[in-house]
Symmetry: C2
Subunit: 233 residues, 2 copies
């Protein structure tokens, strides 16, 4: 029997899963600021649920490096820093290079179809608002790596992607980095992947990341990004 509960339209899975996704979205998009304390009771009221799903979701986010847990002193969102951003960029370049090469090495027609499709959906979403575009953008990049037979590596890449995209959001929605010819870059990556040219595809992918990274590093240097905090140490 396939009855969908009408009382829970947005909630297909468990409450924990729902809260997890909502919180992650709120952190990634900057709705919850870096270093902000996450009080259980506030979130409970805000998300209209009990304390247990909140705690469980926060535990999951802790291991995604999006939330820090202070032993017996509750949770807070992860801090941001230029150093952290640089590490992210470095690790992404390294790990996605590995995954992409492996993906291409195992290339099949089905995978080609999948990345072409993902690319198309991303392009179509360009006019459908940034939220949709970002979603498809990640989907495209993950699809590029999906053909590698390294599930753990893929999970790492996915986590790093989320951590990185957070900086993009923190840089402000005004970040129309799409003004750069990102469409062309994506097309170039896709093309090289379809052509199964690992060196070229990897080179283009890494440049894609590094250019965005350099742009954000510039913002960070000017203090636009890391606003609320001046920590000693």
């Amino acid at each position: 029997m396939n009855m969908v509960d009408p009382n829970a339209p947005s909630g297909e899975g468990s409450a924990t899963q729902r809260v997890y996704k909502m919180l992650r979205h709120m952190i990634v998009t900057g709705e919850l600021e870096p270093g902000e304390k996450l009080k259980i009771d506030s979130l409970r009221q805000r998300l209209h649920t009990g304390a247990s799903p909140i705690r469980e979701a926060l535990s999951l986010l802790t291991s995604d490096n999006l939330v820090e847990r202070l032993d017996q002193r509750g949770f807070r969102t992860a801090e941001v820093s230029a150093k952290n951003f640089e590490e992210l960029l470095f690790l992404r370049c390294t790990l996605e290079d590995l995954a992409l090469r492996e993906s291409i090495a195992n290339a099949t027609e089905a995978w080609e179809d999948a990345i072409v499709l993902a690319h198309h959906k991303m392009q179509r979403a360009k006019e459908a608002g940034q939220a949709t575009f970002e979603e498809r953008h990640k989907a495209f990049h993950m699809e590029l790596l999906a053909n590698a037979t390294y599930p753990i590596l893929q999970k790492f890449c996915s986590q790093l992607y989320d951590l990185n995209i957070r900086y993009r959001y923190l840089a402000g929605n005004a970040l129309n980095y799409q003004r750069r010819d990102v469409g062309e870059e994506h097309r170039g990556i896709l093309e090289a992947a379809v052509a199964r040219d690992a060196d070229l595809a990897s080179d283009r992918l890494l440049n894609h990341y590094k250019m965005t990274g350099a742009f954000l590093s510039g913002l960070m240097g000017s203090g636009t990004l890391v606003r609320g905090q001046a920590r000693a140490g």
Copy 2:
């Protein structure tokens, strides 16, 4: 009145932390077999605590890839497979190579002291039982990477180490791989690190892993490792 739980005489951290460490140890050492269902109530009785810390600890372990979560169907320990093991070996070689080189690039005398000390403690623990040795063994390897300014990378390495060591335990405590001249290998790695020879240190480190890996792969091929399921209460 101060009623202290007799099961927590040391009572240092939170119950969640305690349960987390206990469960992780049980999974890593194979006391909980791969794919085994983790029933909340059983664990609750077994560890003499409530359901909340259990659930929270299992959530944490999920993100460590040691436990799988089946939505609304509970938890189970992660499966093992030759493919998974190969991925672990590959990722460890790649990531630890990065971290070690960075560690050496930032080498200081304090770090030299730290790795020499960690090595010494590991050697001394050789006669103090396998449990202690394994602990020190991880400490030594992590100390080698500790001087890299890449906290996320270090976390990845630590996680991968735990996933890998699980296979060693599953291969049986009879695995006295120390019969190989592992002591000599460790000394070689340490020596190269102290000499700040990144290429040599990395080469020796990776060989160290690959030899253990090849040994375990052999066991796995013969079916010693991935056996069926013979579980007793």
